[in-house]
Symmetry: C2
Subunit: 205 residues, 2 copies
DNA sequence: ATTGCAATCTACTAATGAGTAATATATAAT
DNA sequence: ATTATATATTACTCATTAGTAGATTGCAAT
């Protein structure tokens, strides 16, 4: 027999509710940071957009910089997870690079990923910048590794991995600035077009 | 016989002095906007960096948004001039595209060009955004024209001009975020590497 | 001389927004 | 019952900063 639905919450449920609220706050903040920029967004506005008051944000997340830092961490974690997953895939280096870049695109046009691209390093404290840089470096390293593996197995033409990683990252980051999911070209199609175009450039000849 | 150097200035000299001061103000503002972001930079700070007071900025430039708008206009004018010049050059479409992109790089790592890339559209009033968009579109149009000319004369492989223009723009914009002129790789070398890498991708096969 | 204009300052205002203190309520634990 | 903890609020403080008013100085033209 099922337990009757009870209004009395278990510890686990409360934990989950808290986490859900935390995420809702972060998401609301990310959206507003992306739309208006970090400094132009007040925590009062973020709170108001969820129908709550500012101190509640402090209760769940701490100060404004921490809010941003959490958003960036989520975005970067997504990128890193995508890199890990792509690297574990079977296929040539180019195959796996294509998979990674496609997901890179999806993450970059998502709220937390956009945050990573749109926030300048300048917004954080020196401490925060250091942590952020380290996370970004991990993603860059993974990207380079994929390129190198492709060169080694002959699926990618001989290029400079470092420069190539930068140009690819730049090309993938740019859409965060202008692409709208609700525009004429749906995300899948846009990702395919951009990634195809880049892959053509990297194909052996 | 030469005129004696006189401390009494002609109208022209005064005009020039004014213009020089105006530019010095814009440059100082651009540098600080790039380093800390628009909203995190106060006009008091900009003024202080030149040893003057805030009202002087208002005397020369008007309000804060106008200061930014001027900076952006200068950067975009530089880009457009580079495009014009490249298009007037002789050589294949690819040759001219290479010339344009190389200069695009130099402009983008310069103070006013950086401003264009680092400032989100969000910072300006709706009016300003409209003007800015129009200027950006002109540059994008020129870039696409070069790509199309290259495809037509066979110096560039058949690609989608729109998508290619976006990926190129993204790849060229990215260095504004991380490249430092005083780092290990000098601007010329960095430009050459990046542009070469992109051109390889566009070469016919 | 006087009037006007350009450049610059000091000293304000008015608004905004980060962060906190004190408080209220509800639930959970003892 | 009582005490502690989590959630959320109102109502502040304090610092920052865009923008302005008004004064000052000096040069230039009449």
């Amino acid at each position: 027999m099922e337990k009757a639905r009870s209004p009395f919450k278990t510890a686990l449920q409360k934990q989950e509710e808290r986490e859900e609220k935390r995420m809702a706050l972060l998401h609301a903040a990310a959206v507003m940071f992306n739309a208006q920029g970090f400094h132009a967004t007040s925590l009062d506005d973020v709170a108001a957009s969820l129908g709550i008051s500012k101190p509640t944000i402090y209760h769940y997340l701490g100060n404004k910089e921490q809010v941003l830092f959490e958003c960036l961490t989520i975005g970067l974690d997504q990128l890193f997870a995508a890199a890990d997953k792509a690297r574990a895939e079977i296929g040539t280096g180019m195959d796996r690079l294509r998979i990674f870049l496609t997901n890179y695109f999806f993450i970059n046009i998502d709220d937390f990923g956009r945050c990573v691209i749109l926030s300048g390093d300048d917004t954080l404290s020196p401490e925060g910048v250091k942590n952020l840089r380290a996370m970004k470096r991990r993603v860059d390293t993974a990207l380079r590794a994929l390129i190198i593996e492709g060169i080694d197995d002959g699926s990618i033409t001989a290029v400079d991995p470092k420069i190539t990683a930068f140009t690819l990252a730049g090309a993938m980051a740019w859409p965060a600035r202008w692409y709208s999911k609700t525009g004429p070209t749906p995300p899948d199609a846009m990702a395919a077009q951009i990634v195809d175009s880049l892959m053509t450039g990297l194909a052996p000849r």
